[in-house]
């Protein structure tokens, strides 16, 4: 899909199918107590709307013969950066529970900065440490929010306090 017109046709068709699927899913909603407005009404309405608009979009773009801008896809390097960044984010979320907020934050921030600019690895580590500490001091201790502390850190702290 290099141009917007192409994308519109493809996505339009996809949306039309999605609309039908939503209609199907809506019809399966279990009715509970009988009320004037069925829980199926709105989802079905959305399904129909999406079908109509998707089909309309596909048809309209198919017939369009005017100026057709290109989509700004990233170059190969950019694509890698985006994918890796997403991967780091996913890892951050995955490990937050076990490693705890401060440690996983430190890892994420350090890794991300280092990845984005490998030569500035000192800045990466320093920022990572700072943010990690702040996340602990401010959000866990001062504001007392229920973020996971992580077994590593807990053990460390217990050792320090004990």
């Amino acid at each position: 899909m290099k141009t917007i017109r192409q994308a519109d046709i493809v996505i339009g068709c996809f949306l039309a199918v999605l609309g039908l699927f939503i209609l199907y899913a809506a019809s399966n909603i279990r009715l509970g107590v009988e009320r004037a407005l069925s829980p199926r009404f709105f989802p079905s309405a959305m399904g129909i709307l999406i079908f109509v608009c998707g089909a309309g979009l596909a048809v309209k773009s198919w017939r369009f013969k005017g100026e057709d801008p290109k989509i700004h896809w990233p170059d190969r390097q950019g694509l890698i950066i985006v994918l890796v960044s997403l991967g780091l984010l996913a890892a951050y979320i995955l490990f937050m529970k076990t490693l705890g907020l401060p440690v996983s934050t430190f890892l994420y921030v350090t890794a991300s900065i280092w990845f984005l600019k490998p030569e500035k690895w000192i800045a990466a580590i320093v920022t990572g440490v700072l943010v990690g500490i702040i996340s602990y001091a401010v959000f866990i201790r001062l504001l007392d929010l229920s973020f996971p502390v992580g077994s590593l850190l807990e053990g460390l702290l217990e050792g320090l306090e004990g």
């Binding site: 917007i4 017109r5 994308a7 519109d8 996505i11 949306l15 809506a26 909603i29 279990r30 009715l31 509970g32 107590v33 009320r35 004037a36 407005l37 829980p39 709105f42 959305m46 709307l49 999406i50 608009c53 309309g56 979009l57 773009s61 369009f64 100026e67 057709d68 801008p69 989509i71 700004h72 990233p74 390097q77 950019g78 694509l79 950066i81 985006v82 960044s85 997403l86 984010l89 996913a90 951050y92 979320i93 937050m96 529970k97 934050t105 994420y108 921030v109 991300s112 900065i113 984005l116 600019k117 500035k120 800045a123 920022t127 996340s135 504001l143 007392d144 929010l145 229920s146 973020f147």
Partner: protein, 501 residues
């Protein structure tokens, strides 16, 4: 509630001690810090800091709470402008033009206008509250379920103007937003919907995760792939020019009016009124194409509406004892801690206290501008931080804020998902704002329609036979027809979406 100058002066006398001013300052500052986090709005902010206030005498505590409230509201707008993370749903319209201004190096003026507009709206709103509350309270109950539905429906037709020339895509964006909001439990009966057998999905999709994902995460993705150096290369002056301010007088006044009157209605939150105010400005402007590309009115209007709506929320509170939003309820809880009974009797039994609260709100408002205008320079500098550092920090804040909604990793995954969705929406030129507005109002809209149908034994005509809802519906339908007509007439390609987002 009867007005008397004596009471108000008395209230000011109680509120204005050196100590109290100090507490107000601290409250404002902490509130701003807390409000900066997406997912933690004024309600959670006050709730979290409530323990701190218990060590103070009652009046000081109330003053501090009011200051925290104002600070939190302002904090949400700060991040919206500087790094495109709306602190809560009401900051979304601010982000649209505010962030564009930041990219052009004008973060300073944007932030300053925020503060000024909030201050003007807040002061005017308080005056309205002080003098006209008894009259206004009766207005508030005129709105029943049909009127609420009609109002929400009309708000949705605003997407037509927000979509620029890409009407079909705007409708699709809105429909997908509504659909997302329907995942989980039906607001009227609790029936499970669109969960496909996954119990986790019963909790539904929290709109903060959606907003943060669509705005902040997708923006980071777009920025890293093009390897930009920083959000903005230079910082202009950090104050708006006189011309800018003059341009904003109209928006400030109009948005205050709109925000205040809509805010009187229980259940109408700033998240809706900021969109309405933004759209109003776009419609009355002589140069509407500037909106979405850094029009300063696009920042002044939502901010004014935000503050005006929050202030108006006190009218139902003081007149009927009904808190119209969670933040009000928290304040009410605070009042109750000091032995006050909620309900319409509040004014009769404890007028001095209530007036002290009102006086302290004026103070909080002033505190906001006194504290934040000097700090504008500091906040604006954030835009120049190299993106290889700022990017990960933005993500950190996003994750932190989203996680703090319900302390569920699930919400953060939703945020990530919508980050990806937002990324593709930008690539394929779909407007994002309609999806956001739809997510925010979906529940209330559906519930109001359901209640209206019950009131009318299943007839939808109740929406049209009642004067107020009929008027709104007529406006909405006219808006739709006009939008379709314009689309057909100009043969606008769905392709051209330069002016969107």
């Amino acid at each position: 509630m009867s007005f008397s100058f004596d009471h108000l002066i008395q209230g000011f006398a109680t509120a204005l001690s050196l100590q109290n001013i100090l507490w107000a300052l601290i409250g404002c500052f902490i509130g701003t810090l807390v409000g900066v986090l997406p997912g933690i709005g004024p309600a959670s902010g006050i709730a979290i800091l409530l323990p701190l206030t218990t060590v103070l005498p009652p009046t000081s505590a109330i003053i501090m709470m009011a200051a925290i409230y104002y600070g939190a509201m302002y904090g949400g707008s700060t991040t919206a402008i500087v790094v495109n993370i709306p602190g809560e749903a009401s900051s979304v319209p601010t982000a649209i033009d505010g962030y564009e201004m930041a990219k052009q190096g004008k973060a300073g003026p944007a932030l300053a206008i925020c503060a000024i507009s909030s201050f003007v709206a807040g002061t005017l709103g308080l005056i309205g509250l002080t003098f006209f509350a008894p009259l206004l309270a009766d207005v508030a109950v005129v709105f029943g379920p049909p009127e609420y539905f009609a109002l929400m429906f009309m708000a949705l037709t605003l997407i037509i103007s927000l979509s620029g020339r890409a009407l079909l895509k705007g409708v699709i964006s809105m429909a997908l937003g509504l659909l997302t909001a329907m995942i989980g439990q039906d607001p009227l009966t609790g029936a499970a919907r669109l969960t496909f057998g996954f119990p986790k999905l019963l909790a539904g999709v929290d709109f903060i995760s959606v907003i943060v994902g669509l705005f902040a995460i997708s923006e980071v993705m777009v920025n890293v792939e093009s390897r930009i150096t920083a959000i903005s290369q230079k910082i202009g002056s950090w104050m708006p020019s006189w011309a800018d301010i003059k341009q904003c007088i109209g928006p400030m006044l109009r948005s205050t009016g709109v925000g205040f009157f809509l805010g009187l209605l229980p259940g109408v939150t700033p998240s809706v009124t900021t969109f309405v105010a933004y759209d109003l400005e776009k419609r009355v402007s002589k140069t509407p194409e500037r909106f979405g590309h850094g029009a300063i009115e696009g920042v002044a209007a939502p901010e004014g509406a935000n503050n005006a709506t929050s202030t108006a929320g006190f009218v139902p509170l003081f007149s009927f004892g009904i808190p119209t939003a969670p933040s009000m309820a928290v304040l009410l809880g605070g009042l109750m801690m000091y032995g006050l009974q909620p309900g319409p009797m509040l004014f009769k039994t404890n007028p001095e206290f209530v007036w002290a609260v009102i006086a302290s709100m004026y103070i909080g408002n002033v505190m906001l501008i006194v504290l934040n205008l000097p700090l504008v320079g500091m906040w604006a500098r954030i835009c120049v931080i190299p993106f290889y550092i700022l990017g990960p920090l933005i993500v950190f804040f996003s994750v932190l804020g989203t996680y703090s909604i319900r302390f569920l990793a699930y919400d953060v995954w939703v945020m990530t998902l919508f980050g990806v969705i937002g990324y593709f929406m930008r690539k394929f030129a779909y407007p994002i704002a309609p999806m956001v507005l739809a997510t925010v109002i979906a529940q209330m809209m559906e519930m109001s329609l359901g209640q209206s149908m019950l009131m009318s034994q299943g007839s939808i005509f109740i929406l049209f036979t009642r004067p107020i809802s009929g008027a709104f519906m007529a406006l909405a339908i006219a808006s739709i027809i006009r939008g379709i007509w314009l689309q057909i007439r100009t043969h606008a390609p769905e392709v051209a979406v330069e002016e969107v987002d």
